[in-house]
Symmetry: C2
Subunit: 388 residues, 2 copies
């Protein structure tokens, strides 16, 4: 090592990130090299000190492939040490400043073993969740407590009706936090009790998942209170609370609760095809790295604009290999109906959570009859599948 040389201690382990770029090949290469700098040292390349920073810490352009006319895929690698083995810094290193460029979309990334060791992902995954529910290979059914504005008692009555009808997962609507209409602790206590009672009486397991998306200083408090009050899982909106907040809940061995992730605020990260994250990267990779056991997304055919092929890609990404991480269950939602169960199971397969909300109330304020119909349709499907 000559005088003035800087040696950054790198292990040689690197992560790779593939970006979708637009323009001519020359422009794409220029953008890729800009990302290599922007997402690491943020320092003019020619002013870097002698030594290995330029070679090892700065991103390396590993490949630039043409995908379509004017569309390129650049694969870069970065020293794993750049991430400090933190989820927050990993997200920053993957896309922080690049989010401010035009025409740069993070398509996918691959992490080395040392990062997966620090970010173990879903605590339960499909198998763990099924074990908690004591159900085998059939679609799970879920619904949401709503509407906002009801008091805790009215919501608890609905929770009890839904549990009595055999719904597997009863979650809070993601907008229910600590409104005066139904204060958090009272709502969670009453709903958890109603679900436990109805579930015991009916002889099956229904888990209640209160929403613990909360101010940073209340997050752990609410999650632990939820467990103490009888919650069987947690609903979290990582776009609102932060991905790392969700990871922290998943990593909490005392909580030991399955996590259902809601996509609130995340549309802006995925809807523009030349910006943000690919659906697969955000829902399949980031969500699992952040500990989600099941991931809600707006399904085709509902109130939101996703196409069948995008929904297929999300479901596939949630089940695709991702280091040693568990899979997560897809939870298509956003305007689903009891009448569409067969179609949805045929599309998504049996490893799915069918989340049907408002439609259970289509016949009136007591959701029991439609909830039972939903449960029966899934049971019929499972019976046919078993007999086939």
């Amino acid at each position: 090592m000559s005088a003035g040389e800087v040696r950054a201690a790198v292990s040689g382990e690197r992560l790779t990130a593939a970006y979708r770029l637009t323009g001519s090949e020359v422009q794409a290469r220029e953008t890729a090299l800009a990302i290599a700098i922007e997402q690491s040292v943020e320092f003019p390349r020619h002013l870097l000190p002698p030594g290995n920073i330029a070679d090892d810490v700065v991103g390396r352009l590993e490949a630039l492939e043409r995908r379509a006319h004017g569309v390129w895929r650049a694969t870069l690698s970065f020293a794993v040490e750049n991430t400090a083995f933190e989820l927050t810094q990993l997200l920053n290193a993957l896309y922080g400043n690049a989010s401010l460029f035009r025409g740069v979309r993070l398509e996918r990334f691959d992490l080395p073993p040392s990062l997966y060791a620090r970010l173990p992902g879903p605590r339960f995954g499909p198998e763990g969740l099924r074990k908690r529910l004591r159900v085998g290979a059939r679609p799970l059914v879920a619904t949401a407590l709503k509407p906002m504005g009801l008091d805790a008692e009215a919501l608890a009555v609905r929770a009890g009706q839904l549990a009595a009808s055999g719904i597997d997962l009863v979650k809070d609507d993601h907008g229910l936090t600590d409104q005066p209409y139904a204060p958090w602790r009272e709502r969670v206590a009453r709903a958890a009790a109603a679900v436990a009672e109805a579930s015991a009486r009916a002889g099956h397991t229904t888990l209640y998942l209160p929403n613990v998306t909360a101010p940073t200083d209340r997050l752990l408090e609410r999650a632990h209170a939820a467990r103490a009050l009888g919650a069987g899982g947690l609903l979290v909106s990582p776009g609102v609370a932060g991905f790392d907040a969700m990871r922290l809940l998943a990593a909490d061995g005392e909580l030991d609760l399955p996590i259902l992730a809601h996509p609130s605020l995340l549309g802006s990260f995925v809807l523009a095809e030349d910006q943000g994250f690919s659906f697969e990267a955000l829902f399949g990779e980031v969500m699992r790295l952040s500990g989600a056991d099941a991931v809600i997304f707006p399904s085709y055919g509902g109130r939101f604009p996703l196409t069948p092929s995008t929904c297929r890609a999300i479901a596939d990404a949630l089940a695709a290999p991702l280091g040693p991480l568990r899979r997560a269950l897809p939870v298509p939602a956003g305007g689903m109906t009891v009448e569409r169960v067969a179609e949805m199971v045929s599309f998504y397969g049996a490893d799915v959570v069918l989340l049907i909300g408002g439609d259970l109330f289509a016949d009136g304020p007591d959701p029991s009859a439609r909830a039972r119909r939903l449960v029966e349709r899934v049971a019929a499907w499972a019976g046919e599948a078993a007999g086939a």
Copy 2:
């Protein structure tokens, strides 16, 4: 109140949110009414219970104005109670599910007094920051410790050189967290000591702002350690750590440190003109509600694609009235140079922080000479302004 009627207890205080919508007038009205539901009860309107939920809890369409051919502005109001007086739920209520629609952008929002009382915004603002620095009405100058890969000692040497040269704010590069190259505690301790020593010797005040963007369970620990080690402010990337995490730091009376916000990951929220938040809403409103005293954004004329008019709008929004909240200082950055000082001050005015990073090293590894030139240029500007 008739039997079966539900009365949600609302105060009558409402917040308003204005969305940019696209399409025909009929389509825009339909989308606006969908937002009214989606951003509150998420429940079919015709199935809501009798009572006041449909009138008070569901959003009200207050106005629909034509802005251009096929472009509309819908103003909706919501009961303030929907937000539970939490920043997390406020963000969810403003744009959570709407982020998953196409062609819906949050342009601005206005909050009632009860919300501002819970979200007091910047602790310092321009005046408070100037007081800490003991400087009057001149542009402030800032720079970043970089590049990643240097060890803590090398970064501290640079910090000392920059402080000795009269730079007001020396921040960590936003990618520096706890990498093995320069572990967090060692880097912050050494850099803070170097800044304090150089600053005392030179007889002026330089504040060192370490990056405390961190995993959720390390955030407060790092922030308080930073203060104990001599930090004069904090750098936070709310797109990575969460807006509420930044709010929590701003609200912490024991910390009592000015906060500089970095826009990492936030590009996806603002770059598509028909999606996300307007620059004014995100940088001018959300950032201040989340406690930022100064807000970094990529200036025109650097490495990022923002136009002068967008930068003007951001700077104006940071100074615009926002309930009782303090203003925040604009921090144009992203490829600024010493040579552009006069132009930038002429564009942004004296209430600005000029953040110049890599360019201070354009003449070699010791940034002292260029840093002094930067400080002198600002002093000359202030002298002329005082003499004028």
